[in-house]
Symmetry: C2
Subunit: 353 residues, 2 copies
């Protein structure tokens, strides 16, 4: 607390990310990172990019990266925006499309950064309760006064909303922006990007942090009609001319281009998820159907907080949310096969002691 | 223009950075980059850092970088904030310390991003006219209603305000934050960082873009008492948990540690600046005394816009600001010796044709 803080600082309620423990030899299944390294082509490109040109500013318009993304996602470059991680894209989008005094809507159980942005900008919001099975009550998002945002698949549940239902939300909010946050879409869902030409109120947000193994490089995208993208650029260019550094541009382009590696690692994670889900079911867990790179699970006999703590003692970090409706669950990121075998083994030990 | 834009988007007046031309073989003296490459130790560290760990998020608290900066600048880690370039630090600082309805002050001729931030956040501002010799009228900054910001040395003039005068501004604004933007301080000025323990209203901003040759990596710092730093962290953590990517952290630490390379390249630029200034004086130019890595110059016979255009035709990019009071000047970044020789040669040719 300080007399020098603006009113806005007092209103903030900063986001608390999952732990980034410093000790070695832990199994880190708490922040939905990819267990596989970035594409070897990405690492080679980055090494080559670590050169004298770092003395020069990056391109403020990141044209090369817009073109690579446009090609990959079958849109035009003026339908793409790039940010310093999808969190920055979200922060700009809240400022660009949501207006003070007009209540926005998002689910009661969702990415907890949404309410943080709303508080930062003084936006009013309504948390729409998910149905008891954690699916999104689509009609509750119709005719929103200020706009709509939700992740698809949702976090931390992993539950996916079919594209036809997303479309319903778009149709019923013709004058307000609907933001679909697709951080986890590559693990089994169908992206709404193909709807951007049809719905001028649709903004789709994606990231290279999850399915492209680049959480450490900070690259997020928004896709939408070019007026929405221009709105984001006006905010970005009033904030920081160069948000994406030279190496991030180079790494992102290489990641988008290596579609073979992307498909391989994505498939491996999807297979591991299904295998682990089946194993956990046999151990008495209830598992929400997930289209993400994580599972949201609970056990009838073993309280979630106990499981979280016991796993941590064994060097396995998962995420536990001490919040109404979800405090019986833990969120488990899908690791590599060895990590998943170890996880299942330790869960068995915990259940039998 | 779009019906989906928030009121804030309509209020913005985005910053326009200097050109980043794509053609090769140009001499780029328009955005105050360093003509020398980053330290070889930085490039080696970055190559080593391009590894499998990029799959993991960076540290949200960038402790390692805070410690390296604290050591280098003789402060404690909780007196340091790191951002994605000093522009991001400035954007957070405007939000954290300036309040709507309280008029802030900055010079009429200064870094043109300040008014852009003010418009983004709906802040009122007063542009205090510089004196005819482009020095800062210190007393005009006393008792500001909302706070004060100016660069030292100032941009685009290069004119430096001695630390005793900065202290006067601090003393006369005990209840408002005074931001000293020291992007160019390493080229001959004395930093105000040593005053942060004495003045709890002082925030000093620096960057690795200029004197550390890392414009392409995007690293900026703020130094101040720990309550001010906490205010910045509250904003940052309400905006984006991970603003500094893994490679930027690694490169920044290496850059701060290589003090020998830093001192060498800085000296070379200062020497070149003095040499070029003397040469230009002989050619009839008026040169403001600069403590930055650029010169602000005018010629009585040759209009600035003509010089700018003719240099550009010859592949030499400098910066021209078509604004009242400074439209007679061009801003010339100090390049390497070869670039400066070529520049002087071409200016002679232009003057004699």
């Amino acid at each position: 607390m300080s007399k020098f803080w603006s009113e806005i600082v007092h209103l903030t309620d900063p986001y608390v990310p999952g732990e980034q423990p410093k000790q070695q030899n832990i199994i880190k299944l708490n922040t939905n990172e990819n267990p596989y390294p970035p594409s070897p082509k990405v690492l080679a490109a980055l090494r080559e990019g670590a050169n004298e040109y770092l003395r020069l500013y990056p391109s403020p318009t990141v044209d090369e990266l817009l073109q690579a993304a446009a090609k990959q996602f079958a849109v035009s470059p003026d339908q793409v925006f790039v940010g310093n991680g999808s969190d920055e894209v979200l922060a700009f989008a809240f400022l660009a499309f949501f207006t003070k005094g007009e209540v926005i809507r998002f689910p009661d159980i969702t990415y907890s950064f949404y309410s943080v942005y709303a508080k930062l900008y003084g936006l009013e919001y309504e948390e729409v309760p998910l149905l008891p099975d954690f699916t999104i009550p689509v009609e509750q998002f119709f005719d929103s006064e200020g706009g709509v945002i939700f992740p698809n698949p949702n976090a931390p549940t992993g539950v996916y909303l079919p594209l036809a239902a997303v479309e319903e939300v778009l149709v019923h909010n013709p004058n307000k922006v609907v933001i679909i946050d697709e951080a986890y879409i590559d693990f089994g869902g169908e992206s709404a990007i193909r709807l951007i030409n049809q719905y001028d109120n649709l903004l789709v947000i994606q990231t290279l942090s999850k399915s492209r193994s680049l959480a450490g490089l900070r690259i997020g995208f928004a896709f939408g009609n070019k007026e929405l993208i221009e709105g984001l650029n006006r905010i970005k260019n009033s904030f920081n001319s160069y948000t994406i550094d030279r190496l991030a541009i180079i790494g992102a382009v290489a990641a988008l281009e290596d579609t073979v590696y992307f498909a391989e690692t994505r498939e491996k994670i999807i297979c591991s998820r299904e295998k682990v889900a089946a194993q956990l079911q046999l151990l008495g867990f209830t598992i929400l159907e997930s289209k993400a790179n994580f599972l949201f699970i609970k056990h009838n006999l073993l309280p979630a907080e106990v499981l979280y703590t016991k796993l941590k003692e064994k060097g396995i970090f998962v995420r536990y949310f001490n919040k109404p409706r979800i405090c019986e669950y833990i969120r488990l990121t899908i690791g590599n096969e060895e990590e998943m075998d170890r996880f299942i083994h330790e869960v068995k030990v915990i259940l039998h002691t």
